[in-house]
Symmetry: C2
Subunit: 191 residues, 2 copies
DNA sequence: CTCATAAAATGACCGCGGTCAATATTTAAT
DNA sequence: ATTAAATATTGACCGCGGTCATTTTATGAG
C-alpha cells in the first residue's frame, strides 16, 4: 500500500486540493478544469495525475469529504421522531447533492467502489448515511415496522433518497421538492 | 419542431445507427468511438453531430430502444403472482442494464430528461417500467398493501430496482445477485 | 431548364482529459 | 561526502468529443 511519505508529496497534494476547492467555490464543480487547477497550484499537469487517478477521483475527494462533513453534522443533531423529521434532518445532504446535476452524477458513479481497496469518500458517505439511518430506525422514539430486519429498513431509506433526488432532475416531476416527495415514501416504508 | 424531412437525412441517420449498432455488437457500448461510427457509416464527423446532440444522445437512442424492446417482451408475459415472480420477470431488463457499468451510468444520467421537449428513449423506458409495475400491482392476482396509492407502490418498485442494481456494482456487496437482493425489498414493500 | 433559397454534409480545428519518457529531487547506504 | 536507488515532477504529446465556416446537394418558383 503506497502512502505519500515525502513531505513534498503532502504539500503538493494540499496545493492541488486547495486550488481545486477555490475553483469550485468560484465556479462550481462542473466548471472545474484540471488545467486550471494545476495552473493555480503552480505544478505541471502530469503531477495532478500522479496524485489523482483521474479528474473524477479528485471529485470523489471533494464531494465525498463535503458529504461526510454534512452527515457528521446531521448525526450530531436530535433523534427524529417521525418520517417527516427524518427527511427534514437530511435536508442539508439533499441540498448539497442537488446543488448541481453534475454532483449527483458523480455521487451515483462513485456510490459503488470499483474495488475493495479503493473505497473513496463518496462510497464512505453512502455507508455513513446507511449507518445513520440504521441508528435512527433502531431508536425507540421512531416507530418502525418490526416484520423485517432493521438493516433492510435502513437500506430502503437510501433507495428512496436516491429515487426522490432523481425525480427532482426529471422535467416531468421537477416541480415538487425532494423533501415533499420523500416523506410519503418513507412513511409508507416505515409502516 | 424540425423533423428530418429529406430522404437523404433519414438514410444518413440510418447509416449512423447501423454503424453504431455494429460497433456495439463487436466491442460493447463503452468502446464506441464517434470517429469509428462515422468512418463505418462513410460520413464526416460533423454529420454525426448534426443528427445527434452528442455521443450520449446516440447512447440514449441505442440503449433506450433496447430497454423499451425488453420491456415490451416482459409486458407480453404472464402476470406475476408473487414478488419473486415479478423480479424474475424483470430479469432480462436487469441483465441488460448490468451488462456494462457504462450502460447503467448512461441509464442513470438519462433517467430524468433535461427538458419536456427532449424526453428520450431511456426516460420513456423508465415511464414504461413504471406503468408495467403499476399494471402488475393493480392486478388482483398479486396481493399488495392497500394503505397507500398503487402509484406510490409502483414508484417504489423502481426505486428498489435501481438500488439493487447499484449494489451489484459495489465491491462490498457485489457477490449477491441482483434478483436475490431485490426480492426481500419488493416483498417488504408490497406487504 | 434556371436560378434562388434552404437544408445537409464536410473536415480542419479546438478544448480538455489523460499518458509517458525524460528529468529533478529526496532518501539511505557506505 | 559520494553515490545509487527510489520517488516526485515535468511538459510535449495523444485521443477523442465537439464546433463551425465553407461547400455541396436538394427543393420549389417562375
Amino acid at each position: 500500500m503506497n502512502k505519500p511519505v515525502q513531505a513534498r508529496t503532502l504539500k503538493t497534494r494540499a496545493k492541488l486540493l486547495d486550488a481545486a476547492s477555490a475553483v469550485v467555490a468560484e465556479a462550481g464543480y462542473k466548471a472545474l478544469r484540471v488545467e486550471e487547477v494545476v495552473s493555480r497550484a503552480g505544478v505541471a499537469k502530469g503531477t495532478f495525475f500522479a496524485h489523482f487517478r483521474d479528474k473524477d477521483a479528485l471529485m470523489d475527494q471533494l464531494i465525498g469529504a463535503r458529504a461526510l462533513d454534512i452527515l457528521e453534522t446531521i448525526s450530531a443533531g436530535p433523534q427524529p421522531r417521525t418520517a417527516r423529521d427524518m427527511v427534514h434532518a437530511l435536508k442539508p445532504l439533499i441540498d448539497f447533492v442537488t446543488s448541481e446535476r453534475y454532483v449527483f452524477d458523480i455521487v451515483l458513479r462513485y456510490s459503488g467502489a470499483a474495488g475493495i481497496s479503493d473505497i473513496g469518500p463518496i462510497a464512505q458517505s453512502f455507508e455513513r448515511q446507511y449507518l445513520l439511518s440504521l441508528q435512527w430506525v433502531s431508536h425507540p422514539d421512531l416507530p418502525v415496522r418490526d416484520d423485517i430486519p432493521l438493516e433492510l429498513v435502513a437500506e430502503g431509506i437510501g433507495a428512496f433518497l436516491i429515487q426522490a433526488i432523481s425525480l427532482k432532475f426529471c422535467a416531468l416531476h421537477g416541480s415538487v421538492s425532494v423533501e415533499d416527495r420523500l416523506v410519503p415514501y418513507i412513511e409508507a416504508w416505515l409502516r
